[in-house]
């Protein structure tokens, strides 16, 4: 999907947010000069470690915080000075934030009542929302009489029913147990693809991010590290931070042999590989990133030999920590037949998928 030919729904222009720090004298830059375009109908995820400024960015978009500098444009209109209730967006909170003194029905109807929608229309639209979220028959319950998953659905329905121009999510699944989280993830995915509602989703769970997103924004210390499709981010990380944060990455030193239009020819594990790299070298040293699953262990004296230091059986796969003599690597082997486990202490040959080599500035 190409972003260029789609209309931009939300635009962040050089947004910076400073908070006074605990001491009170200085400031903390929670968000540091972020610029970002979000297209209509797109599902965009802000992903990053704890404290990197994801929530702050989301709250800036929603209007609960005012940027120290920068502008926010919604459909080409500057909404920076607008209060949150005037922005046509709805936020789904981490802990649901349902109104505990209202029934499920009234919770969902709340936004419509605020918009002064006619009574019958409210009735109709709320019932539709209940049906869509699989909550039929629960309209009279109080939030505390619902399970966690149901509460999350009510929170979602409450935001969806007002048909906002943008739906914002702040780690909506983090309070659910693992199974329910996977199930709700699927539901959000289905729902969003069906309604094509522009969404900004905050999470620190990379699987969730990859499963749901059209594009992912990886953040670190208030800055954007990389923006790209899940596959871009996973296979072609722009920085070492991104490579390290997502999936399991090994970094291997390489010797550059030649550079041409076709790519960079490097030597890695005593093999010559040409990598179609977009990295601009400018003479700086490079490092190769190899995902754990693109490494394999095989009895073959022709391959470079490694020592298996640790072998962990993880069910669907086996994770090895091997030593090449100069560094440790993580190797993941799929083993559907359940026969092939290399013992700790064994020496074995190391092979890799040459197409999976990705070069990064060292």
């Amino acid at each position: 999907m190409s972003q260029n030919n789609q209309e931009v729904r939300l635009k962040l222009e050089n947004i910076t947010k400073e908070f006074p720090d605990r001491g009170g004298s200085g400031t903390v830059k929670a968000v540091d000069d972020i610029s970002l375009d979000i297209c209509a109908g797109e599902f965009l995820t802000l992903l990053g470690p704890s404290g990197c400024g994801k929530t702050t960015t989301l709250r800036l978009i929603a209007g609960f915080e005012n940027p120290t500098t920068g502008r926010i444009l919604l459909d080409n209109q500057d909404v920076t000075p607008q209060p949150p209730n005037k922005r046509d967006m709805a936020l789904v909170f981490q802990n649901y934030a349902l109104f505990p003194h209202m029934s499920v029905f009234d919770n969902i109807a709340y936004g419509l009542q605020t918009q002064r929608v006619k009574r019958q229309d409210i009735q109709h639209r709320v019932n539709e929302a209940l049906l869509m979220m699989g909550l039929q028959g629960l309209g009279d319950r109080r939030p505390n009489q619902l399970s966690g998953g149901q509460q999350q659905r009510v929170a979602l329905a409450r935001s969806l029913v007002v048909e906002p121009r943008i739906l914002l999510f702040d780690e909506p699944l983090s309070n659910l147990d693992a199974k329910l989280r996977v199930q709700m993830r699927g539901e959000i995915h289905r729902l969003q693809r069906r309604l094509r509602i522009t969404s900004v989703y905050v999470t620190h769970d990379q699987i969730e991010a990859m499963a749901l997103s059209d594009r992912i924004v990886v953040m670190n210390a208030g800055k954007i590290e990389q923006i790209g499709t899940p596959s871009d981010i996973y296979h072609r990380p722009a920085t070492r931070f991104v490579a390290d944060f997502i999936g399991r990455a090994n970094f291997v030193g390489v010797t550059v042999l030649s550079e041409s239009a076709a790519g960079v020819e490097v030597e890695i594990f005593k093999r010559r590989v040409t990598v179609a790299s977009s990295v601009r070298r400018d003479g700086a040293p490079l490092v190769a990133m190899l995902r754990s699953e693109s490494l394999t262990l095989r009895h073959d004296p022709a391959l470079p030999q490694v020592l298996v230091e640790q072998a962990m059986f993880l069910g669907s796969e086996v994770e090895y920590i091997v030593n090449t003599g100069s560094q440790q690597l993580v190797v993941v082997e799929q083993d559907p037949r359940g026969v092939h486990v290399v013992a700790e202490g064994e020496t074995i040959g190391l092979d890799f998928v040459p197409e999976a080599v990705h070069l990064l500035p060292a």
Partner: protein, 578 residues
């Protein structure tokens, strides 16, 4: 907050002013607090440090009579703090930790003093234990002199211990039972646990109860006026200086002297003790506290508590009984003449005026308290803590001092001389017979400022329990601040609002120390009439007033329960559905 850099502070203020209604609310409460609390206090301080006042300081502080008044005040405050906290601790401990019957009964008896008019307990104590008391003289045959420090300590401890009881029982419930269990696991016996775990954890609560009672005691006017005898304290001295000597400057100087211990103790209690509290009130106790079953602990403490309960009931029984007999303590034949005197005489107007003014003040006090709590907890703006503190002064400052401040500030129109316009009247005269609405407005305002702090505290406590995300969810769904406050915040803090209303009404009906200086021929106040009757020894009439007052307060509380709603149900579960 104060250390925010200017541009940041400005930005935050600017974000607050995005909502005109919120700005209006903020401006209104700030103006209200400034005019009704800060300004009178400043006038009083100005008067005290004026050329007329300064020599008086020197005179009072070097004169043995005045020095002994100061000592008396402090000694009385300390004794009441000590005994009141002890009784409160006993009630709380029995309630939370002892396995004994009649707990509900003891709880209700402990709450009774809250709604009692100021002179009721003192007068009943005179009737029971005084020189010709029906118990001291009638049963034991002694002519006991209850007037003075001993009587004051007894009466005030019984009147104020509820504060300590509620404070400490809340804390004891919040103590994590796991701590006790851990200590038991380590082999400690119950007494050792009490000494080494429970007591140290409760120490901040005990200290803060002591200090709260100290402030109450040194500020009290009603009891020392009736029971003091020759034992003079600052509040009574201030009263006499104004009412008897018409010397407002002298009263201002004495008020400033009284303000020193009151405010010091208040600030220590609020900003130091309550900060160092180790008890974390999570609202989610991780178990029920272990009950203490040892008979040697259980029955003596139970017996003592029941004895105190009976004493309280005896006192309130005396009030009710005394209203229906010819001469309390002397002639016991049934009569309605006291009620006749009150209802068909001058009392009718006082009852009407007091009730009407209280009814007007109550919702205002509750609402102002909740709005200030909302602003202070939820919004960031420069001067937030100052607003909170200034509001709290309404109760931290002794009533007599507030009263003097009002007389000094509002007994004449407040004017300002401007360069072009000349003299501009900012406020008309509020107090005295020629004051606005016959002085009634000033009285309502005093009712409000004396009640708002309690509403503010309960509102603040309730609000900090509510996840701000719930309000943000409402705003995110398009509701503005006003709608969010009305539809979400206020319903969620309804129990706190109700508590604020009940307190405001009870307080307004029973307050004396501030309004005693503000009553006018046009506007009469019940407590003042009660004082009048007590001073003339017409205890029967005083008791009749008290009975009527208590009935009015109880009826009003019932009405508020019905209309505002009780504390049961979903509002307790405030975490937004978790």
């Amino acid at each position: 907050m104060q250390s925010l850099r200017r541009p940041q502070a400005f930005k935050r203020f600017a974000s607050l002013t995005q909502d005109p209604l919120l700005t209006l609310a903020l401006v209104l409460v700030v103006l209200f607090v400034a005019i009704t609390i800060v300004f009178p206090l400043l006038s009083m301080i100005g008067e005290g440090f004026s050329p007329k006042g300064l020599p008086l300081f020197q005179r009072y502080l070097s004169d043995p009579v005045h020095l002994s008044i100061v000592t008396n005040t402090l000694v009385m405050g300390a004794l009441v703090g000590l005994f009141g906290t002890a009784v409160g601790f006993l009630f709380a401990f029995v309630q939370v930790r002892l396995n004994v019957p009649f707990k509900r009964f003891m709880h209700i008896v402990a709450l009774i003093p809250v709604i009692s008019p100021p002179f009721a307990v003192a007068t009943a104590a005179i009737v029971l234990f005084g020189r010709s008391g029906s118990i001291s003289r009638g049963i034991f045959g002694v002519r006991y002199d209850i007037y003075g420090l001993d009587g004051l300590t007894l009466v005030m401890s019984l009147s104020f211990f509820t504060i300590a009881y509620l404070n400490l029982s809340g804390m004891m419930r919040a103590l994590d039972p796991a701590l006790d269990e851990a200590a038991t696991n380590l082999g400690a016996n119950k007494w050792r646990i009490f000494r080494t775990v429970t007591l140290p954890m409760l120490l901040p609560g005990i200290a803060s109860s002591f200090l709260l009672l100290f402030v109450e005691a040194v500020a009290d006017l009603g009891n020392p006026l009736v029971l003091g005898g020759n034992y003079e304290v600052l509040s009574t001295r201030i009263y006499v200086t104004v009412i008897g000597l018409y010397d407002t400057t002298g009263a201002a100087v004495l008020s400033l002297i009284l303000l020193v211990p009151s405010l010091t103790v208040f600030i220590v209690q609020r900003y130091w003790i309550s900060r160092t509290s180790v008890v974390s009130v999570t609202g989610k106790p991780s178990g029920t506290p272990q009950m203490i079953n040892h008979p040697l602990v259980r029955w003596p403490l139970f017996g003592l508590t029941i004895a105190i309960c009976l004493l309280i009931l005896l006192i309130y029984g005396t009030i009710i009984h005394g209203a229906f007999i010819r001469v309390p303590g002397v002639r016991y034949d049934f009569t309605l003449e006291h009620f006749d005197f009150v209802l068909n005489g001058i009392g009718a107007q006082a009852i009407q005026d007091t009730t009407l003014l209280s009814i007007l003040a109550t919702p205002l006090a509750g609402l102002i308290g909740m709005v200030i709590a909302y602003l202070v907890v939820r919004k960031t703006f420069a001067g937030r803590n100052l607003l909170d503190f200034s509001t709290m002064l309404g109760i931290a400052v002794p009533g007599t001092v507030i009263g003097i401040g009002y007389v000094l500030s509002f007994n004449h129109p407040t004017t300002l001389t401007l360069p072009v316009l000349g003299e501009v009247t900012l406020l008309p005269q509020l107090t005295g017979g020629r004051g606005l609405l016959g002085g009634a407005l000033a009285i309502i305002v005093v009712f409000i400022i004396r009640s708002v702090p309690a509403a503010l505290r309960s509102g603040t406590a309730a609000l900090s329990q509510i996840d701000p995300a719930i309000e943000e969810a409402s705003i995110s769904l398009g509701a503005d601040n006003a709608r969010t406050f009305r539809r979400i915040t206020l319903p969620l803090i309804r129990p706190a609002f109700l508590a604020g209303l009940i307190y405001a009404f009870a307080r307004s009906m029973t307050t004396i120390s501030a309004v005693v200086f503000l009553t006018t021929p046009q506007t009469k106040i019940m407590t003042q009439q009660i004082l009048n009757e007590v001073e003339h020894g017409r205890y029967g009439n005083a008791f009749a007033y008290c009975v009527i007052l208590i009935v009015i307060v109880m009826v009003a509380i019932s009405i508020m329960y019905v209309t505002v709603g009780s504390t049961t149900g979903a509002e307790r579960r405030l975490e937004g559905g978790l």
